[in-house]
């Protein structure tokens, strides 16, 4: 059986993807599919991206040809670290309890 996706939260997946460097929409889809095994739809991706930009967690960069790349903001990096820290605590607790 294939490994299950670590999370289906598009916002979290986008933040993780952009933590690796600025990317445009198509590159984000490919990156997320590669590291999480999740195939986000284009509407889901841009819906989450617009919310993250509204919250100031990501920012648009000048267009690169016909594509616009996005980057993680400092506040997005802090939010991501905080969410991953919370997830990590839950994962560690879960692993201890199942004895893995």
């Amino acid at each position: 059986m294939a490994d299950p996706a670590p999370t289906n939260d598009p916002g979290l997946l986008l933040l993780i993807s952009l933590a690796g460097g600025p990317k445009h929409g198509h590159a984000m889809l490919l990156d997320i599919a590669a590291f999480a095994g999740v195939r986000l739809g284009p509407g889901t991706l841009y819906g989450a991206l617009s919310r993250l930009e509204e919250e100031g967690l990501v920012a648009a960069l000048p267009t690169d040809g016909r594509r616009r790349p996005y980057r993680l903001t400092p506040s997005g990096r802090r939010a991501l670290a905080s969410r991953l820290g919370g997830l990590d605590r839950a994962v560690q607790t879960g692993l201890q309890r199942v004895g893995a």
Partner: protein, 201 residues
């Protein structure tokens, strides 16, 4: 899926709020043009767009309430009264024709009309869904015609949220509402009389 990407994608983009399309529309279109337009992608675009639209409506309403403005709970009906009136008229039309045809045929003895109306009534009565629709149509038409006349909402006054109800008069909607009430009353009267006659027989 038969592909007509330009037209279908443009149609799906209509699901998104206009302000959102102004900001992200070109980028999303560019991304979609790089992907095969499968049913999954089409569904994703539609559901995401409608979700963003619902979110924008909720955010707009909450913002206006916080600003002290009143907010409508039935905004589409208020904004499109003629469309609702026409929808009401179309809903009512089949029942209206059968009721008027029956009246003219049975009460005024226009047997030519009865020859047309009676077979239609018999067919309608034999199909439960059609029969139910014909009976429910006056109520549905009344609701469609009346909805744009009623403004139901809430507003913030002296720091508290208060319900607000206002009514406006629009001739076309009122006329269709009155016809719906008349047709519904005739239909109800007919059903009651018929039931009494059957009970007595």
């Amino acid at each position: 899926m038969s592909r007509s990407p330009g037209r279908l994608v443009r149609l799906l983009m209509r699901c998104y709020p206009a302000t959102w399309r102004d900001r992200y529309g070109d980028e999303l279109l560019d991304l979609v043009s790089d992907l095969p337009l499968t049913p999954r992608v089409a569904l994703d675009l539609a559901s995401s767009g409608l979700g963003l639209r619902a979110r924008a409506l909720r955010a707009g309403a909450a913002h206006r309430v916080l600003q002290g403005d009143s907010v409508m709970a039935i905004q589409p009906a208020w904004r499109h009264p003629t469309a609702f009136a026409v929808a009401g008229a179309l809903l009512l039309l089949p029942t209206f024709c059968l009721v008027v045809g029956s009246l003219l045929g049975y009460e005024l003895g226009l047997t030519g009309l009865l020859g047309i109306v009676a077979p239609i009534q018999a067919t309608a009565a034999s199909i439960r869904a059609v029969d139910l629709f014909l009976v429910a149509a006056p109520a549905l038409a009344l609701a469609a015609a009346i909805a744009p006349l009623v403004r139901l909402g809430w507003e913030r006054r002296d720091g508290t949220l208060q319900a607000v109800l206002a009514v406006r008069a629009l001739a076309l909607n009122l006329a269709i509402a009155l016809v719906a009430v008349a047709v519904g009353s005739l239909l109800a009267w007919h059903i009651v009389v018929e039931s009494l006659l059957e009970a007595g027989a």
